[in-house]
Symmetry: C2
Subunit: 393 residues, 2 copies
């Protein structure tokens, strides 16, 4: 029996949006929730106590990076990621598959997301039924990532929500390639489930990844398989097409295929309009590097109607027009940054090349995302999700 | 009348060490105190609230950098450095002279400190009786830094303790050059005093810089001048020789020359043994970039007897031997870093190139320096300064 449970509290009348609670040994996560990316066992520039102060519920660590450095042994000695990092709240780890395949294909995630064409293998050496062999970017060592190793690593890391190793495919491949990858992902998911049982670890919730790219029949086969096995939840992975509309259509389609009682995670998506649409399709959790990554590049997240110089939610604080702006990023925001300093100060830090500039925006963007999800949950409770979306987008 | 006052509470029986209080409009500073460097209007990687939590009393901002960016106008609009940065405690600004001359001489501070020979002017264009003309490293503009501008800038920045513009000389120059610089520094100091009066700013304490390099007669002339005029305190600047012993000798010599009732700042010195010796000569405040700079390079400050792998106070957390060390930097330290994470975690972050590693060490080093000064003050109160020094060094 997994100690992680998911309970749906309320379903919206007007969409598939739902309020839920992910109960974990490290605390509850109110859903819909946003999961911040702590790629290399840290959210860049932010301490665990700052994450807590900003109302953060849950953090993601990447198994791929953590496996290569500091490695399973160090994490076992530390007693898991929570003890190692000082973040004692709920944690999510991915399987490592996405990085092995996307970095292996020579890019980061652009190919799998569909925005850049396939450019040939770089660090991915071979994929067999046993697993995927790749070169470590740290020391060049060959590593065979099997479904069993992905589970062993995630159990050693001690996350609450863990993910089956899957075969990720880029967008620009033939359907047969995507189909074979989906079929192998099914077999690997069963091996993951077996390995988790063999390890006797009863804390983790295991998520099956729904693969199948842009193809309805493949997605359905993947969803049917996941529905028929006792996975604790689902993660939607693989190519979601090349346009926003395609991403929305595929997400909606998959959400309608899967067991509506289990939790659903949408891998790697975190744009504000994308989150609203995902929530309406029934997505419970999202993760994305974007809110914290753009912060380090000087971009603060704001409601679109509070962003007079730009369209959308991204406010570029490097603009010279902010050099004399003595108001905070958002007068209504309760984050440390907005309560303490002005856009002019952040603009100065960014232009001076001081990392504190990006750190202060990171604090704001984390708070912004947490507040966004709070507002979305309130809106589901009050059946005002459309108004909430209009307020933000 | 300056609103900043300095009161000596206790003098040591066994040395010139003293306990004091610098009362400022932004709060009291218990002395001896360490002043952390916030070069470009921020202590790198640390928020103002973190500085407060770590028991920080006072911060230094560099006039040279702040003058070039964001500039006086922005600081005036912001209402001063405290409002701009969110640090609402006591603040110290230097005059900008040290940077104009030391960067002008082609290095950073090595020449003036004596460790590197004079290598010819780089950005310093000319020095006349009026002031020093240099090129901005931001945009190449020519800037004439006069004693009046140095005071206007520091008043606009709103620091509590401000410093007269002086002519800094490197170590490797003829005595006559050092003598002329000292004489000009006297004339500039009077112009600074006049300008502060003219501006009608009554909040700031104005410190005279004691110049004269390694020459007793020049130091005495500089000290006599400062004693005879109503400066609120002194700062010891210029070359302190090339060896540690010379630095100690000159510091001691100058301390014995100056009015013992006024506060004394030792510019740019912050090694642990140097602080103990300085305190014994009668120094009240110190500043140095070292504790925060070395942190960003992976070096944590510890008591020497808690540093088994190295001599002195610097613990290099990048050492591979720390990769599996699950204990904190210092079990007895009450800083966030030591209460939350291990050396292994910091070692991982440093090796992964994550800025959080340096940030976590910065938090520790700030707490270490604040605790050091707390312990020094307790030791002066209890006449146990030698035992305290033996404990740390």
């Amino acid at each position: 029996m997994s100690k992680v449970t998911f309970k749906i509290i309320k379903r919206s009348n007007s969409s598939r949006a739902r309020l839920g609670v992910l109960h974990t040994p490290h605390g509850d996560v109110q859903t819909p929730a946003f999961i911040f990316c702590g790629t290399k066992a840290n959210v860049r520039g932010v301490t665990a106590s700052q994450l807590h102060e900003l109302g953060t519920q849950i953090i993601l660590s990447n198994t791929y990076h953590t496996l290569l450095q500091p490695g399973i042994d160090v994490l076992r000695e530390a007693g898991g990621l929570q003890k190692f990092t000082g973040w004692n709240g709920p944690m999510f780890t991915d399987s490592g598959g996405f990085q092995v395949f996307s970095l292996g294909y020579g890019g980061i995630n652009a190919e799998i997301k569909g925005s850049r064409p396939y450019s040939g293998n770089k660090t991915l050496l071979s994929v067999t039924e046993e697993g995927a062999t790749f070169r470590s970017y740290i020391n060049g060592n060959k590593i065979l990532l099997t479904p069993e190793l992905a589970i062993q690593a995630q159990v050693a890391f001690g996350a609450d929500l863990i993910v089956c190793l899957d075969v990720c495919t880029p967008h620009y491949v033939h359907k047969s390639f995507t189909s074979e990858a989906m079929l192998r992902s099914k077999r690997w998911a069963l091996r993951c489930m077996t390995e988790l049982k063999r390890l006797g670890s009863e804390k983790q919730a295991l998520l099956a990844v729904i693969q199948g790219g842009i193809y309805e029949d493949l997605r359905r086969e993947s969803a049917d398989f996941a529905n028929q096995h006792p996975f604790d939840g689902f993660a939607i992975g693989g190519s979601l097409g090349v346009t926003k509309q395609q991403m929305y259509d595929i997400t909606q389609m998959v959400c309608e295929m899967i067991d509506p009682e289990r939790s659903v995670h949408l891998l790697g998506i975190g744009g504000i309009p994308d989150i609203f649409n995902g929530v309406k399709y029934g997505i419970d959790t999202f993760d994305c590097v974007s809110p914290t990554r753009i912060a380090r590049h000087g971009i603060a997240l704001v409601k679109s109607n509070e962003n007079p110089l730009e369209t959308g939610n991204n406010m570029n604080l490097k603009r010279s027009s902010f050099a004399h702006d003595m108001t905070p990023i958002d007068l209504n925001c309760d984050c440390y940054t907005c309560k303490t300093v002005s856009k002019a100060y952040i603009n100065h830090l960014l232009r001076a090349g001081e990392t504190l500039g990006g750190q202060l925006i990171t604090l704001h963007n984390i708070r912004f995302m947490n507040k966004l999800m709070e507002d979305i949950r309130d809106a589901i409770a009050n059946d005002t999700l459309e108004a909430c979306q209009a307020d933000y987008c």
